[in-house]
Structures are given as structure tokens and as C-alpha cells.
Amino acid sequence: MLTHETGHIPVVAPQGADGLFSLLWLIIALPMAGAVILLVGGAIAPKVVDKWGHLLGTALPIGSFLLSLAMFVRVLGLDAGDRQIGQHLYTWFDTAGLHVGFDLLYDPLSALFLLLITGVGSLIHVYSIGYMEHDERRRRFFGYLNLFVAAMLVLVLSANYLGLFLGWEGVGLASYLLIGFWQHKPSAAAAAKKAFVINRVGDIGLSLAIALFFVTFGTTDFASISEHSSQASSGALTALGLLLLLGACGKSAQVPLQSWLLDAMEGPTPVSALIHAATMVTAGVYLVVRSNFIFELAPHAQTAVVVVAVVTLLWGAIIGCAKDDIKKALAGSTMSQIGYMMLGAGLGVAGYAFAIFHLLTHGFFKANMFLGAGSVMHGMDDDVDMRHYGALRKMMPVTFLTFAMGYLAIIGFPGFSGFWSKDKIIEVALTQNWLVGTLALLGAGITGFYMTRLMLMTYFTKQRWEPDTHPHESPAVMTGPLVVLAALSVLGGVMLAGDWIVEFLAPVVGTAPHEAPPIAPILISLIAVLIVAVGVGTALLSVQWGYVPREAPQRVSFATRAARADLYGDAINDTLVVAPGSRLVSGLTTLDRKGIDGAVEGSAVAIRGYAGVLRRIQNGYVRSYAMSVLGGVLIVVLALLAVNL
């Protein structure tokens, strides 16, 4: 279905880590130490650690960022072929046939991720100092954030799938802890559980993939697998690809494992920004891109990736159109944008680099917008309903301006980072399959609609504030990161200048033979802009020059009702999984209680009844006992006769 050629698959062949790169382990160790100190030390001596815990928790990721930046600069000075560096920390386990070491791999792909994670992560840490100022469990929050950063770094720096899985599970745990951070709220606890359980389903895929790697290749190292991947059977490769896709769906909230992402907005806003926008949800894309040596040889798996991506892309966009909760609207947007990234990853060598490019730009502008939403909520007494906003641009100018930068980036306004990244993906999609490309364009239009609706309802239109609300600008500790991220949203497109990112990632993903798109790229961009404009205009018509009621109207079209219900994602899960599951469990419980317990106790009761009947033989009379003796004699005599006759 997708038309592209498979070129040469690059082999992972790292050199030893020396010089600056020998400090690779430190990048992980710093936030890990922070997590330990804040959580364990805080449990031992809370009063002491609470005072400076948040500052330590912010300083350590900044330290990791500085190290990552230094290594990035150093690696830019190396030749293209020398940019893969590996560091062996220790042998994790060595059993019959399976040798797994705790190895780190620093190559162009992980370099970019390191910058994203530590950079955006540090900014969000700084933001959290202000956002969580009034929360008494702030120290614990920073401990969990550091734990997340450490786990995510393990995920992207690991040189084999088992280490990746360790980080994978670690970020899942951190996500659970952070979504349910406000434990006293039942909705938060339920959302945390839901996220964890749905992630678990995806983890099954990844675990099976690791087992299949071991069975097929005898190892889980990227280096060995990339070298021998062409020697595996196509069946095994397709199976591996599909299992990896399942894992990615869980972590990146792609259909069918997407229902947890909107519920995850129960967590504090910095969590939504860091985990559910910029980093954790992009781990699935990382997995697919890193496993390019598998996907390139399994075209069916790639098709599956594309299908999932396109469905999710539209699913998230449609949901986002009907949400009145600002965070849930942004979450729907995240789901949709990750769909774009997965689309890019599914399109093969031509798309990997653009998927990563979009991942990075999305990290900038989505984190920017989430933090901006947090700033708005901070000023509106933590109210998330956009129907209670309106005309906030004069009350929060900095927030408004930075948010606007992110908005322009996401809709693909020419010149902003999102324009460059999304257009490239649409271009590659159109080159390989016109239907996929058209749907991607459609998604862009819907994106324009719902993002504009969000902007208008929040910052423009008439004010619909609750009584006694005094919107005000946030303190500098919160607006500072907003400014930085806004700048990145504007300037992030520079990474594409001269196809820099494509060349930079070539040692990891390979170089695609140049294929011309069906129509000229400039025309594609123009069409994209036009479609987005249509979306923007529709939003202007219905929202700005229409009327926004304070209460959500009940009599709405079927499409709106469906979108409000997350396109019935929860209902589907309930019917397909939850209800049969609980019926199975109740059936098993009944079986256990009545069947097995009944059999055990029933056998006891039966024996007691039998004994109760049988003991009446002991009636005390000597003659009855003599009768028993006669019976025994008869049996013996008959037996002897039977044997001897």
C-alpha cells in the first residue's frame, strides 16, 4: 500500500566512551540521586528536606541538561560516522544463552531526546516551583518528577531492549504516581489506575517482543539485532513489528489504548506538560524509530503503524473539538499530534527524521501551551472550564502572548516550527499514498478549528467569569519558562534548515532515496495553509461572532455528543474488556465459593452424615458385635474358597 523502497539499514556500532562521554552515566545519576534524596531522605527527615527539596530537585535536571548540551556540542564536532558512542556500565545478568549488560548508547537520536527531556524538563521543574508553592507535599512532587526524568533518560540511553523496558516501566510508575498525586481525590486515583492498567496492556506487547527478540536473535542489543535483522524470517519480523506497535500504542495513547490520556489530566498541570505532552507519550515514537531495523523489513507492520496513526490523528482531533475543559482539549490535541508523529514513523526511512522533528517541535509548543493553561488556571482559581473564561488577554498579557506563539505553531502558521514539521510529514504521506496524505490534511484542518476555538474561548470573546474571580498574571518563576518555550516554538523550525535534522539522524535511520511528491511541495504547503484557514474561519464564525453559553448546551448534534463522550472510547472498553472481565471474575468467584468450597465442605458434610448413619451399627449389644464377627468369618471362608476352588 505504501510505496517506498527499502534502502540500506544502518547498523548500530558504538565506539567506546572516553573523555567527556565517560560522564554519560552521570546524566542519569543526577536526577536519580535527586529522587532518592527527596523521597527517602524526605521520609526520614521531612522538616529539613522540605525546605530545600524543590530547589535540589530543580538543580539536578539542570545539571543533566548542561552535560547533555556539552556532549551535543562535542558530537557535532565529530564526523558523521563517529557519532555512535557506547558505555558499558556493568553486566546486568549473564545466564545460559542470555547476556544482558547495562549499556548506554549515545547517538544522534538519543542526543536529541536528551536535550528535549532535560531541557524542557528543567523548565517545567522551574515552573513547578511556583505552581506547587502552596502544596504541602511539594517535596514529594519534585521527587517523583526527578524519578520520571531519570527513568525517561534510562529509556532513551539504553543500548538494549531490556534496559529500555526498565525505563519504560519506570516512566509508567512515575506517571501513575504523578497522575494520582492528589490522592485524596477519588477521580485522580481512578485516573492513575486507568493509565497504569491500559499501559500494562501495551507492556504485554513490549514484553512479548523482547522474548521474541531473544528467541529470534539470541540477544536484545540494538547493535547485534541491527546487524542480523535481515536474517530473521519475515513472519518473525512482522510479529516483532506488531508487538512493538502494541507497546507503543499503550505508552503513546494511540487507538485502541487511548482512553487513559484524557483522564490523566487529573494530575497537576506541570505533570500534564512534561509527561503527557512532551516526553513520556513520545516514548512510543522513540521505540518505533529506534526499531527501524525491524520495521524496514516488515512492511505489513509499517502499514499497521500508518493505519493506527491516521485513525488516532483524526480521533484526537474530533475529541478536541467538543471539550470545554482546557486541559482535556489540549490532551486531545496531544493524541492527534502524536498520531502525526507515528504517521511519520510509519512511513519508513523517508519519514523517521520528520517524525522526530515534529516530536521535538511538539515538545516545545505543547509544553508551552500546557504551562500556559496552568498559568490561566492559576489566575482563575484552578477553574478548568473554558466556558468560565473569556477576554483574558488583557488580564494575563505574558501568558496570552506566549500561548499565542504555541497556538500559531500548532496550527501550522507559516514560519513557525509546527509549520515546517507538520508539512514535511504531510508531504511524505502524499508521496506514498494519496489517501493517507489527504486524511492528514483533513486532520490539519480540524486542528485549526479546535485550537482556534480554544484560543477564542479563553482569551477573546466576552468575559464569562465566575463571581469573585480576579484573574491576574502569574509570577515570574512561572512566566519565565513560558517565554523560553515560546521562543523555541517560534524558532524550532531552524532544525530543518538545510535538511540538517535529516542528515544528523542519518546514521541512525538511514537515508531515503529522494522521491518527488505528486505535486510540488510549495503547492502542498499552500493547500495545507488553506485548509487550516478554513478551520480557523469556522471557529471564528461559531465562537467569536457567535455566542458562547456559560452552561454547555444539552441539545446538540450527534457528532458533538459523540465527541464529548471521547468517541465512546470508554464505552467500547467497557463492553469489550471490562464487562466480560468482571463477569469472568464473578463467575470464578462463584465457582470458587460454591464449587470448590462447596466440594470441600460438602465432602466434609457428606462424610459426617455418612458417619452419623454408620455409627448406629455400634448399638452396644454384644450379640450385634458377634454378628459382625460372623460376617467377617463368612467373608474369610468365602474368600478362601474362591481362591482355592
Binding site: 449389644y621 454378628m627 463368612l634 471362608v637 474358597l641
Partner: protein, 272 residues
């Protein structure tokens, strides 16, 4: 030939033990069986056992049974109603099955030719038995004697009664009789003998008092209760008649003056 006469008798007697009500009848029927068995032993060339069976088994053991029956209560008879449910039926069924099994089994086996005891009994049966008893079976013999001693001692111990009260000596017995006379007016002293004027000394005939009336206390209460007391005056009349025929002057009751324990009745009744 002897066997075919005795065998049905033995079987009938044994069945009789099952069915008779009184225990004494059962003991007698057992005696029949045992004596028949003794005869069979004699037929089977076991003269010593024939004698021992009669002397020991029938003579000693059965007599012991009869003694204990007397002690325990010779009237005791089992009621026909069976107290345990199903016992009788089960017993009969079990017995029939056992009997049938044994008989069938025995008739199906070939016992071989009868060797006969003419060689073994060559020097006499008793001598041969004594030979065996004191050579091959001497240990069993000694142990059996120990057994007999044990049985005798055991029986003595079991039958022994502990005296719970002091033995009643003669002064105590005399004191008791005087007390009973004082309290209840019981007759002090022995029962009246036949007396000077008795005309006969049969147990069931009352003695005559001086005035010719029969003394009721001279006849056992049991006989009186049974109503088997004979009339003393009538018998005295018979004796008078006989004396007259012999020409002897019949002795009548002396006139006047009786003993002090006469009842004060001064009517003279002369029975001729």
C-alpha cells in the same frame, strides 16, 4: 451305622438348644449331644476320649452349668420377642450361608484314604497317647496345668463374697429374736414339734393341740399357701379306727386341764 443313628439325634438336640424356652432344658439337650459325641469318639478308635468326654465334659462341666443355673434362677426363660432389629433374620441367614459354605466346601474336597489308627493304637490307645503327651506335647501339658491353676484361683476370687457386716453369732441371733418378739409379736423359739398328742409326723399334716385342734404354725407356710395340708383330725380318726380293729384302746384326748398355752376354750371336743 452308628453314625447314621446318632447324627440326626445330635442335630435335632442341637436345634433344640436353639428353640427351648427354659435354660435347664437346653442344658439337658446339650448333655444328649455330648454323650452322643462320646459314642462317636468310641467309633472313631478313641476310647480314652470317649471316657474323658463323659467324665469331664458331661459329668463335670455340664453339672457346673446346672449348678450355676440353679443359683442364677432356674425359672429364667427368654422371651420369644427379639429386642435387636433384624438380629434373628440376619443370624439365620448368616448361619445358613456359613453352613452351606462349609458343607459345600467340605464335600468338594477329597479327603484321601482313611489310614486308620490300628498302627498308632498298636500298644494300646492310652499308652500311645501318654507317649505323645509326655514327649512331644509335654510343654503344652505343663502350660495347661498352669492354666488350670489360674482358672481355679480366678474362680475362687470371682465367687468370693466379702462380708460387709459382722457375722451373726448366737448371742446376736438370740437378741434379735427377742427384739422381734417385742416389736412385732413374732413367735419366739422354735416351731412346735409334733407334740405328745400327735397322731402322725408328716410334714403336711398339722400337729394336734391338747384340745384336739390342729396347730397351724406346725405346717410350712408354703404348703399352707399351696393348699396341700392334710386334715389332722381326719387322720387321727383313721388311726383310731385301725387301733379298734387291732383291739387296742384308742387314746383319746385327755380330759380336763390343758397346758397354759391353750386358747382358753373350755369346750371339750372328743373326736372319736
Amino acid at each position: 451305622m452308628t453314625f447314621w443313628i446318632l447324627a440326626p439325634i445330635m442335630v435335632l438336640a442341637a436345634l433344640g438348644i436353639l428353640f427351648v424356652r427354659k435354660a435347664v432344658h437346653a442344658a439337658l439337650l446339650l448333655a444328649v449331644v455330648m454323650i452322643s459325641l462320646a459314642v462317636l469318639y468310641a467309633v472313631l478308635d478313641a476310647p480314652f476320649l470317649f471316657a474323658v468326654q463323659i467324665i469331664v465334659y458331661t459329668g463335670a462341666i455340664l453339672m457346673l452349668f446346672l449348678f450355676v443355673l440353679m443359683l442364677v434362677g432356674v425359672d429364667a426363660s427368654d422371651s420369644v420377642v427379639e429386642t435387636i432389629r433384624g438380629q434373628r433374620v440376619l443370624a439365620i441367614v448368616g448361619g445358613l450361608v456359613l453352613g452351606a459354605t462349609l458343607v459345600v466346601g467340605l464335600t468338594q474336597t477329597a479327603l484321601g484314604t482313611v489310614v486308620g489308627l490300628s498302627d498308632a493304637n498298636a500298644g494300646g490307645n492310652i499308652q500311645a497317647l501318654a507317649n505323645l503327651l509326655f514327649s512331644r506335647w509335654v510343654f503344652a501339658f505343663e502350660v495347661t496345668s498352669a492354666l488350670l491353676i489360674t482358672a481355679a484361683v480366678g474362680a475362687m476370687v470371682l465367687a468370693h463374697r466379702e462380708r460387709l457386716e459382722p457375722k451373726e453369732t448366737q448371742p446376736l441371733a438370740a437378741a434379735r429374736r427377742v427384739r422381734e418378739y417385742a416389736e412385732r409379736g413374732a413367735h419366739l423359739g422354735p416351731l412346735p414339734p409334733p407334740g405328745v398328742f400327735a397322731r402322725n409326723n408328716a410334714v403336711d399334716t398339722a400337729a394336734l393341740l391338747p384340745d384336739g385342734r390342729p396347730a397351724e404354725s406346725s405346717v410350712s407356710r408354703v404348703l399352707a399357701a399351696r393348699g396341700t395340708v392334710r386334715s389332722a383330725p381326719d387322720l387321727a380318726d383313721d388311726i383310731d379306727e385301725v387301733q379298734r380293729q387291732l383291739g387296742v384302746e384308742p387314746e383319746g384326748v385327755p380330759e380336763g386341764g390343758g397346758t397354759s398355752d391353750a386358747t382358753g376354750d373350755t369346750t371339750e371336743e372328743v373326736h372319736k
